[in-house]
Symmetry: C2
Subunit: 201 residues, 2 copies
């Protein structure tokens, strides 16, 4: 009548690790790094605390592995491939991908913001994809400036564009009641404002 028989969880080699990573992530998002205990993580993963340490060695190593695991950068190529030359549509695709991406790692981004003055290397991984995308966007802006379709400093434009998405994602976190979930309309609004401004012509 041991407990592990009752819950009948998957005991295959990688499954425990994955459950621990998932639990770690959700608890990190909810309570932050220091607010999350290894006991909680183990409980939520349906795993004994000792197993956590046997698998990852330390809490820090677990957190690092968690961030690494949830911050892959593979979607960038797809983004590049989907650009087809129409300025507005391209920007909408970029913004859409950015929103999706940032929403996914929003909790980790906030955590890295809060801890960047501290010791951890968490920030590095969480910002890797956005930083890479920023370069892509800057290059894209430069091309369109050269083509005479945009004006301004490509780096500034890229920063502004990224910031637009960033503030939207963060705003939805802080004031969820004000931000109805309507991503396509948001993307259109943002890109429209970015291209044409708010001034009535």
């Amino acid at each position: 009548m041991a407990l592990q028989q009752l819950q009948a969880v998957n005991r295959s080699p990688g499954a425990t690790r994955l459950r621990l990573l998932a639990a770690t992530r959700s608890l990190l998002a909810a309570k932050g790094r220091r607010g999350t205990t290894t006991r909680e993580i183990a409980d939520q993963a349906g795993v004994n605390e000792a197993t956590l340490f046997r698998q990852f060695g330390s809490k820090d190593a677990l957190v690092d592995a968690c961030v690494e695991h949830y911050c892959s950068t593979v979607e960038l190529q797809e983004l590049l491939a989907s650009l087809d030359g129409d300025l507005e549509r391209d920007l909408q695709r970029i913004a859409s991908a950015l929103i999706q991406r940032m929403e996914n790692v929003r909790d980790l981004i906030v955590m890295s913001l809060a801890e960047e003055n501290a010791d951890g290397t968490v920030g590095e991984a969480a910002w890797r994809a956005p930083t890479a995308i920023k370069k892509i966007v800057a290059d894209y802006m430069a091309k369109r400036i050269a083509a005479g379709e945009l004006s301004g400093n490509p780096l500034f434009l890229a920063r502004f564009f990224m910031g637009m998405v960033f503030s939207y994602v963060m705003g939805r976190k802080r004031f969820p009641e004000e931000y109805a979930a309507d991503p396509p309309a948001v993307v259109e609004f943002q890109v429209g404002l970015f291209l044409n401004g708010a001034r009535k012509v």
Copy 2:
């Protein structure tokens, strides 16, 4: 030869409290709420840990008092008074006040972002001023839309405008090397882009 004679600090009633508040703030910014210990705060304030508790009762009360102390809202009236009717200049004044304001409480904003899923009421105070300003901005946008100078949804415009500043301030925190400290030019750039967009005409 007691230590307090050597450092010859001000021992007036409010001075200890102020030193504790200042130390609390700088440590909160550096290491977050949970990462900061009462011993550290007391040390940095040049005060004994027991005094901290005699003054504030608990660590939570100290943090609350700290946030409250550094998040006053008085500058809003000055902002309103400085608006003079010229659309671009008004927006620049608003943006400038916003940047200054958000830079001042940037650390507390980040802290509140990281802790909003937790228990604390810290977020409330840190976001009070920005939220109030957002209302002002939205009203301002509505007026200018009614006057035929702007187009769009006033709330969306306000959100976008605030987000512009927010992402700039946060970006400077995360990537300080990329953001040269040139606030006036930044304000001009942002307001220009907000009004006219990036598209070459």
